[in-house]
Subunit: 179 residues, 2 copies
């Protein structure tokens, strides 16, 4: 199991590109697009997340706009689950619930359809990157506001130094690659 | 085959919600979020697109931000292909090529990483909706600018009255649901 984890981390890191000073000076951006375009790396990424969630009972994958849509939708389809988008403000056509939060590069607001998840249902929240945890915590707030439960979080990349996990409460968090 | 097509169209239409006057008065928005959250409808949608592309030879699925990420990434993973995002301007971290175009609700600019597809490679372009075809044609322009070939287009929904297909040239276009 630990060997598998090390193997997938090495495989994916080889396909993640470092972009210095993006989107702001001093930030090292981890660009997953070379990984996404590589069929075996992308497939291994989706398989690994699905495997790590295989013992978690949940109804929906919640994917956070926009890279979280790529990872989340593929995992949802692979696992036979429904997919629920959490979007930036003003992008969803039906009645929404919204929340504001601070993130690494400024303030942000995210929304979810008010009927996106049923009271008593359960979800896993997926995004490409766990940085400060602000976006994931905001998505969790929306899910709980709708009366549903967050059973786990999954990310491709986790930036260890920002301690994002501390904002996600007592819920299992998995990430395939750490920096 | 025609029976299958009619079956999938009926199944998906039952899960697509009509939102009048969104995003502008007079526009009937076709909201696929109830379909996405339904595991069997979402699964059937991805299976149907994958089946219709099964005889097409291509290297990458190109998904158009943002709902095209949801459909495109799931299809790419299902078919064992790589995924390439075409994004709104200013969202991609590496060097990009861009193009401007007109769409139903105003002007827009889309970008792709300059190394997203190799010269001589081939792609299928996927989005949730074919309306005027402006966005898909812009994505196609980017692919061709990079020296790659567009072998097909796939959409969940096609709005027949807007004749989007006429802008996509002599390339196979498939859509699961028509209005």
């Amino acid at each position: 199991m630990q060997n598998d984890d090390a193997h997938i981390e090495k495989l994916l890191k080889a396909k993640i590109r470092d972009i210095p000073d993006y989107p702001k000076p001093g930030i090292m951006f981890r660009d997953i697009t070379p990984m996404l375009k590589d069929p075996s790396a992308f497939g291994a990424c989706i398989d690994a997340i699905s495997n790590r969630l295989s013992d978690t009972k949940f109804d929906y994958v919640v994917g956070i706009e926009a890279r979280g849509f790529i990872i989340g939708a593929a995992v949802a389809n692979k696992m036979g689950k429904g997919f629920v988008p959490v979007r930036k403000k003003g992008k969803l056509p039906y009645k929404t619930i919204a929340t504001d939060y601070q993130l690494e590069y400024g303030a942000q607001s995210v929304e979810m359809h008010e009927d996106a998840v049923e009271k008593g249902s359960s979800v896993v929240i997926i995004d490409d990157l766990l940085a400060t945890g602000g976006t994931a915590a905001a998505a969790s707030f929306l899910i709980k506001s709708a009366g549903a439960q967050v059973r786990g979080y999954a990310f491709v990349v986790e930036l260890d130094g920002l301690n994002g996990r501390t904002r996600l409460g007592n819920v299992p968090v998995t990430a395939l690659v750490r920096y």
